[in-house]
C-alpha cells in the first residue's frame, strides 16, 4: 500500500474565466518545489488543467483534491454541474458541446478528455446528469526519480 505524503483540496469556481487554471498553476509550483520529476509533473498538470477548465466551463463549482503518495500522484475532481450524458462519446476526439464563449477562450475543441486520458496511467470519469461529474486520475511517479 502506497504511503500518503500529501493531500490538499482546492476550490474551483464555475464560469470564472479570469481565474481558470489558477489551481493547476498552484499545484504545478507546489509539486515542483517538492522535487517531483519533470515528466510526471508535466503529465499531472496537463490532466489537472484540462479537468479544471472543464469545471470552469460547464459546472457551477467544483473541488480538486491532490493526493501525493510515494508511488503516484492522484487527482480527484468533483463538480456540481450538468453532468455528461454519454461519457464514451465525450471521450471521442473532436466531439464537443462547447459554446462560442468557450471556443473563444481557446477551449472546447474536443480534445480535453482525450488529453487527460493520454497523460494519465489510470483515468475514471463518473457522471450523473443534472448533478455533476467526478474524475479520478492517477499518474505514476518514475521509480528512478
Amino acid at each position: 500500500m502506497a504511503a500518503e505524503l500529501l493531500r490538499e483540496s482546492f476550490e474551483i469556481q464555475g464560469r470564472n474565466y479570469d481565474k481558470a487554471g489558477e489551481v493547476s498553476g498552484e499545484i504545478k509550483v507546489m509539486l515542483r518545489d517538492l522535487g517531483i520529476e519533470a515528466a510526471s509533473l508535466r503529465r499531472l498538470v496537463i490532466v489537472a488543467f484540462e479537468a479544471e477548465m472543464n469545471v470552469v466551463m460547464y459546472a457551477r463549482r467544483g473541488t480538486m483534491t491532490l493526493i501525493l503518495t510515494d508511488e503516484d500522484v492522484n487527482l480527484e475532481v468533483r463538480d456540481e454541474g450538468p453532468g455528461i450524458p454519454d461519457i464514451e462519446l465525450a471521450f471521442r476526439e473532436g466531439y464537443s458541446t462547447a459554446s462560442d464563449e468557450m471556443r473563444e477562450m481557446g477551449f472546447g475543441f474536443g480534445m480535453g478528455l482525450s488529453n487527460m486520458k493520454k497523460n494519465s496511467d489510470e483515468l475514471t470519469v463518473e457522471s450523473e446528469v443534472g448533478k455533476g461529474t467526478q474524475v479520478f486520475a492517477k499518474i505514476k511517479l518514475n521509480s528512478n526519480a
Binding site: Y17, D18, A20, G21, S24, G25, K28, A38, R42, V45, I46, F49, E50, M53, M105, G106, F107, F109, M111, G112, S114, N115, K118
Partner: protein, 114 residues
C-alpha cells in the same frame, strides 16, 4: 535557432523577456486551440497562437513551452504580459499571419511537433 533570430526574421516586438532572447528553439507548436498545444507540446518549443487572453500564457506554463509568439499584431492586456513575466515566459508579437510565420520558420529549418 535562437529566439533573437526569430525576432529579427519575423519583425517581432518583444513584450516581455528581452533578457531571454538567447534561448534555443528547436521545434514549434502552432494553434489557437489550447488543448492542441497541450496535446502536442513536448516542452521547450516556441508556441505560436492568435489567442491573446490569459489562458494562452497559462497553457504555455502548463505545457512548458519556452516562448510565446502572437501573430497578426495582436497584443494581450497588460495583466497577461505581467503574468508571463512572472512565469518567466518570453512573449513576442509579429504583424505576420500564422500561415506566413509557419512557412518562414519551416524554411529556416524549424519543424512542428507531432
Amino acid at each position: 535557432m535562437k529566439l533573437a533570430e526569430i525576432k529579427e526574421i519575423l519583425q517581432c516586438e518583444v513584450l516581455t523577456g528581452e533578457e531571454d532572447l538567447q534561448i534555443d528553439i528547436y521545434q514549434v507548436v502552432a494553434s489557437d486551440g489550447m488543448s492542441e498545444i497541450l496535446a502536442f507540446a513536448k516542452s521547450k518549443e516556441l508556441m505560436i497562437t492568435g489567442l491573446t487572453n490569459i489562458q494562452s500564457i497559462r497553457t504555455a506554463d502548463i505545457a512548458g513551452v519556452s516562448a510565446v509568439l502572437y501573430c497578426r499584431g495582436k497584443k494581450p492586456d497588460k495583466k497577461v504580459i505581467e503574468f508571463a513575466k512572472q512565469k518567466r515566459i518570453p512573449v513576442l508579437v509579429t504583424p505576420m499571419v500564422m500561415f506566413d510565420i509557419c512557412g518562414i520558420l519551416y524554411n529556416k529549418g524549424l519543424k512542428g511537433v507531432s
